[in-house]
Symmetry: D3
Subunit: 228 residues, 6 copies
């Protein structure tokens, strides 16, 4: 017979090689909760599955503890990018307790003048709670109308599912926001890099944006990590 460790190694290898078993949906749970087994999750992270959720064996409930339902990674700001924003996202990969519960969240800190560029989440509505600072937030609807406003500490804005939105710190100190989503994996497409940094055919981009080859080339160099 196999020991538990052998089995875990077996499955760890399996998930490393064949990739993850994903599941289908964000609907009503059919059990109280399901915490994926940590060792398996560890191996999954190691193989760089960039946050794709998985159907993984749950821990025995006797091994589940309160800590499985708590995330501490949002106590402090993350590392700031060139845009002046630091995002810490809680997802299955770093917070397995979210599994099957239909929600996830992120903390973002934005430097004075920093931005969160136009992006959208394909699979969730977002609630933005301003924990600190003064931030211009808005979204674009299907008829290309912008709904934007400056929010202050304690205010909340709701960003409808799948619509392009954006933020800019318009105050004089760091902004901290807490965003929550009604999906355990809302997904994200940042417009500049999804469009100019992903390798869409150059002729198509020229025609779509009315830019010439040189201009598109310049945009690509900015946003395509491979062309750098």
């Amino acid at each position: 017979m196999f020991s538990q460790n052998t089995l875990l190694i077996f499955f760890a290898i399996f998930f490393l090689h064949v990739s993850t078993i994903t599941f289908a949906s964000d609907p009503d749970p059919v059990q109280d909760f399901c915490i994926p087994h940590q060792k398996l999750l560890g191996s999954m992270n190691a193989s760089h599955h960039h946050g794709i959720p998985s159907i993984l064996p749950c821990k025995n409930s006797s091994e589940t503890t309160a800590t499985d339902f708590v995330f501490s990674g949002t106590k402090a700001a993350g590392n700031f990018s060139e845009d002046g924003i630091a995002v810490i996202s809680a997802s299955l990969a770093n917070f397995p307790g979210l599994n099957t519960l239909g929600m996830s969240f992120a903390r973002a800190d934005i430097e004075v003048g920093g931005i969160n560029p136009p992006h959208f989440h394909p699979r969730a509505t977002e609630l933005v709670h301003v924990v600190e600072g003064k931030v211009y937030i808005g979204f674009v609807d299907s008829s290309n109308r912008v709904f934007a406003r400056v929010l202050e500490q304690g205010e909340v804005m709701v960003l409808p599912r799948g619509l392009v939105h954006f933020m800019m710190n318009v105050g004089d100190k760091i902004v901290t926001i807490f965003g929550s989503f009604n999906s355990q994996n809302p997904g994200m497409q940042k417009i500049p890099s999804a469009v100019f940094g992903s390798g869409i055919d150059e002729e198509l981009l020229q025609k779509a944006f009315g830019l010439d080859s040189k201009q598109i080339g310049s945009m690509r160099r900015k946003f395509d990590p491979n062309s750098k």
Copy 2:
């Protein structure tokens, strides 16, 4: 190569040790049905997973029979508890045919004067069909209003999802009811034991119910199986 038995043993061990692979939802099925393989289910039960549903390999449809869709455990009453109630619940563990079909059910028999204490099902609406007897049934809505009535044989009451409800046999013979749910795993929280028998901090309970330490201690001894 491995024989089928070796594989089943392998998976049985796997599920025993690593716990179950649960799935996410109670929505539309994407196949006619999916009967989990009996041997795996057997091992799952053996490890006391208290009815948590699992994503288990389905039987080949050629091995599926009509019996997989029939439950006979509700032909007679179960064992009566101290409250004077005998509940037989059909769930994945004892009726695998329910898997993915979005429904489950229970038979409850209540002795004269017996009760079904205040409880609720986190994941389902319940239809209560009175097969025999005379029973007081009610539920509490979000504004703490009680909707209760005495039902007779053949009558049906609908108990909205997630709301506290309760029953008492107010007739002069045993009551038999058949409850059906729109989830394959509705879940259940019985108020007395969930609140006083689960180990919630004593000071918090004192403040919540306005009881002193001695009174809370007495409630705990009644409902916490570990304190007995």
Copy 3:
């Protein structure tokens, strides 16, 4: 200003003439419950909307009573059809309390030798609980395989969503079954009348069933109420 009665009359007329406002789904409720206003429902019934659910104004919760959640129409058998079956279905039309709660039910009594002809429910799984008697029940899966068995008092069979099923009383006394559904309006298509009694092009039916014009004509006379 208008009195409440004038408003009710207004809406009653509106619903009588323009037909019902239907709603979109059988998913999670977003409130405890919503009992449609009785007077409006009354007028709706009067105009023969054959059970189609409606988005109707809810009663004030102060006017809602426990009786709104209780159905008494299943205390006794209904009227038997030529097939030897008497069905009483609870739907929004006769049990408004089901509104938004995602379940409905029916009582069927079948005479000795009587049948429930092949039919299916487009929008629900069905749980059949045998309250009394001995009944042959079965369903057909997508690969045209029959799963059928004789059930006795107290047994339960689950019939997967959307699949053709059927029943026959094979005992020596009346059968009583209680069927519950995971939709407030499961729908129903009885094969003989949906196919032969609905007016499908005759040539198409001849080709589909390999029957000649005379045979199809005979089937139509049996099942089309208009051709009688």
Copy 4:
């Protein structure tokens, strides 16, 4: 013809008298957003519908502004109750912009030693973000096991849908938490008042909690607003 004002008055009266038109679910939106018309909503609030969402006519999108998607009521703490907690809930009634978007939220401030008594939300998972302070938070699962921990500023806990949970300020300054839900109307049942303050039959309560008539009477006086 009628002026717009006449129509609004008409509908305001209608909603006041006949109660609200509720809708069925918290699923995927089928449009970008739908802001209910303010005047109608105002009349709805006036008639004390305690937060029940409604299918109301949406504003023309040309009348919709960014402000419709922003909630400012959470900038400061609310009024503290006897339990030492001040809750401000955003719902359709005070934040119409949430309509059809599948999320809602609340700010709670808890005094030193104050509690949020055992309660649950029938229709949502909750994410609790600790904005300030030190708070003991926990929930009870279906097998009556408590998962509880002390959280500090910046930490997040996820409370699975429909399960009883509770909080207590165990630090030395006011706690501020921000809770978000994956339903626009999660509902709430506070155990002490739902069970002892709602009017459940006294004999049933005595049997359920093993308390005598006097003890139950004392609990009722504490939690039933009508018995005071």
Copy 5:
């Protein structure tokens, strides 16, 4: 340790013997996509699981290519049956890229005078797009009313979920239609074979259709592949 090939063989055997792991629903995806691993899928097909979808390990996204999302099997007509119809259905078995995305489709070519016999899809609405030709299409509603019309090239008809529908080529050249479904596995029950070719009890069929033993026997010989 095991090589990847050994693991694949292991899983291939597992799926061959124990049958497939199915999943529960057709709801919102929780990741961009999930392409099942080809080798496993191959073994699944080999064991004749007639299109039942499975929870299979996804390919690493680095191994996923554009081709995984493209289906070329609908470039030409399939093989014509006795009814004069040739159907090519894209499902998980032959187009793994559909996995978790909530849609599937089929191409059907119908000879002059050929038919698509009365059938229904238990789990999907169908959009029929007439690519070429002239075709009579219709469906039957729950009150046995037929909604049928002749469609020409470029027209589209919507067939509501779960309702019986049918087609006949009434033009003078081959009809080509493209049907799309809002489920990755809509299922299908063809009435003649589901009812007369599946082995439903003969006495029940006689009573249901008012046919004698000889007539039912004749129908069975036509539609039951085993009786031929």
Copy 6:
């Protein structure tokens, strides 16, 4: 009393002024179908609600005909835009029969060299069926990887929900594609106009795309209809 016409006028006015009553979801229908009343729909269109679906009173089923379920607007190409594409979308506004059925569709014709610029549908997966011609189609996933290929007549590509996708006619004749969606109102955000033509703060756009004020101004003049 009011005549039916008065009532229709009343409601037409109501919908013109107060805007539409929208509904919440794209889930399982709870009735066979629901065709909104044509006159009301007409007035709705007149007030330019750009395709927002509405909860409107359904026609009496006796007034419903087969034609309500047929769309003929896709028999020929529409008008070509500057991008060389002609799109005809079927939605509730021009095809009321789709109401509550969870699907919609569009025909697009693309001139030689013409493009369908990068865009996405917030609420649906899309199936693209190439009816004629040779077309480069692709989408971008959450990690900014492009999945693109040239498709020929008869081929089908699936575009996962909410992800940016694009097309270009790379053949030597007009391309005709038929796109179907698993939502009755998938929504659409065309990147160039949603980002540069919607009025997002100029400074934010400069920072997001690394463009200077002049370049952003030039983009805005191209895509903002108001700046022309």
